[in-house]
Amino acid sequence: MAIESLPEPSIAIAAPPRPRFGFLTATPIIATATFCLVAIALLSILAPWIAPHDPLQLLPAQRLKPASEQFLLGTDAYGRDVLSRIIYGGRISLLIGFGATLVSISIGLLIGLFSGFFRLLDAVLMRIMDGIMAIPAILLAIAVVSLSGASVMTVLIAITIPEIPRVARLVRSVVLSAREEPYVEAAISVGSALPKIMWRHLLPNTIAPLIVQGTNFCASAILTEAILSFLGAGISPETPTWGNIMAEGRAYFLIKPSLIFWPGLLLSIAILSVNLIGDAARDALDPRMKQREAGK
């Protein structure tokens, strides 16, 4: 006899919390942050159509010109249009920000899942992670870039490496507590294959904390890229990035401070938006926060 309808279970079976993205417009401030980030993303993607000039075009006759109708934010020391360079500059920042986040989360997730599941592997992996975490991220990043040459790829790798242990530790802690749950023990005892246990039972638990950690890291990755460029240890100087524009502006700060302030403003807005979204994500997704609110 085929079972058409199962009886209702006497105990409610709670599915792991699924993240919802309604928080992106939860309050006017968060909505503004989301809007700013989308606007910057659109500017960067559509840069070739929006930018009034070629960001690489040198016009030696037009060096350090003030803002005018032709050059809305003036020109830099090589006669390049600052506005166009700033619009293009967002591309690298966002690419590195989101790229580094995705890569570090993917690798950290794998390490964390295995580390949380295999005790022996855990001891070795976590010592390595502790070691990497002890190295200040910025020093590690500039050392990696300086030794392997400055390209978008190396900068991305350099920013990603220091974050991997933090993701791995987070995932590991989630896995360690989740594997004590009855549904995971049940899955193990009925002989479910390991990949299936990881995919079906452990992975969903990590999604909410990873979104929170990911947004926070995305902001700091954008910042680190700008710092690397600013210090001259990032992507090659002719490439327009916000950090590069500011690095070049350092020498002319007394004559033309706007070379530092405009890219600095956009950089700050981008990081601020991502940070605000990260805070909203934590408030919306972190169950401990909800308990704290409820307990008040």
């Binding site: 990497i132 190295i135 500039i142 530092i260």
Partner: protein, 313 residues
């Protein structure tokens, strides 16, 4: 307690071992000839050979590692490839500005941020709370070099109150020393204030609902004493922790701040070494800062027992 301390120090050894291995492999695993990477594109064969001998690159890998570690343990951090000065001497010459800024920053940050966090928690949900939290998000988001240049523009260029850049040693007088320390310290404290204020607020919110706080209020103790003597003391552990973990922020901040304000400190030394590919200096800086980071966090763990008698190891 002594046993715990010993265990913690022993646990730090493998961590530092991984750091050393990582730093060692960083150069060796880079694609291509490490000597060529260091020397740059225009190096002559003689220069390449000199770098190879000076770093021992002609030996097998494990011999290189053992020799290097052995030297490290004897306090020999190597010699700069550019200036031929021992790295330790270079650090010694440039440590004063860095320590001055770092200490001033931590002091300013704690003095400003802790009361901010306490008040924000006390007035939770009011405009004061929102203002402090807003300031804190801003502090995380505006990069230290942007803040640095804004401060220079306002206080050094427009108002002419302070010098634009540079550093004067304490030995050349207290006035000039402090004058040049104010702006870098302010710039660097911003993010630290954000971090500590936020942690203080969160941690105060946790304890303000406790019974002993209610009891203290019921006894008629003044609100200031309740907040700072009864609540803050119990909320201090996470705040101290965040000062320790924020040390990494301080390092990256120092590197950038010294570049903005043209200060000849350790951060500038590191950046110059990186740009010139002065590998022994880079290696030494990464090792030393990691060691400092591990030590500081160890000391903080020990400090818990002093701050909170309930924590026993």
């Amino acid at each position: 307690m002594l046993g715990y301390l010993l265990r913690r120090v022993l646990a730090a050894i493998p961590v530092m071992g991984v750091v050393a291995l990582f730093v060692f492999l960083l150069l060796r695993l880079t694609p291509g000839d490490p000597a060529a990477v260091i020397a740059g594109d225009n190096a002559t064969p003689a220069q390449l050979e000199r770098i190879r001998t000076s770093l021992g690159l002609n030996e097998p890998l494990y011999v290189q590692f053992v020799t290097w570690i052995n030297k490290l343990l004897h306090g020999d951090l190597g010699v700069s490839l550019i200036s031929n000065v021992p790295v330790l001497n270079m650090i010694g010459q440039r440590i004063e500005p860095t320590i001055s800024i770092a200490l001033a920053t931590i002091i300013v940050a704690v003095v400003v941020a802790v009361p901010l966090g306490v008040v924000a928690a006390w007035k939770q949900g009011t405009w004061i709370d929102r203002f402090v939290m807003g300031l804190s998000v801003l502090g995380f988001s505006v990069p230290v070099f942007v803040i640095g240049y804004i401060l220079i523009q306002i206080f050094a260029i427009d108002l002419r109150w302070l010098p634009v850049q540079g550093f004067k040693s304490l030995s050349s007088g207290f006035g000039p020393f402090v004058e040049r320390l104010v702006l870098p310290t302010l710039a660097l404290s911003f993010i630290y204030v954000a971090l500590i204020a936020r942690m203080t607020r969160a941690s105060m919110l946790d304890v303000l609902g406790e019974d002993y706080v209610r009891t203290a209020r019921a006894k008629g103790i003044g609100e200031v004493a309740v907040l700072f003597r009864h609540a803050l003391r119990n909320a201090a552990v996470p705040v101290i922790t965040v000062i320790g973990t924020g040390f990494a922020l301080l390092i990256s901040g120092v590197v950038v701040t010294e570049s903005v304000f043209n200060i000849p400190g350790i951060g500038r030394l590191t950046v110059d070494a990186v740009l010139a590919r002065d590998y022994p200096v880079i290696q030494a800086m990464i090792l030393l800062t990691s060691l400092l980071y591990v030590t500081i966090n160890l000391l903080i763990d020990v400090a818990y027992t002093l701050l909170d008698p309930r924590i026993r190891y």
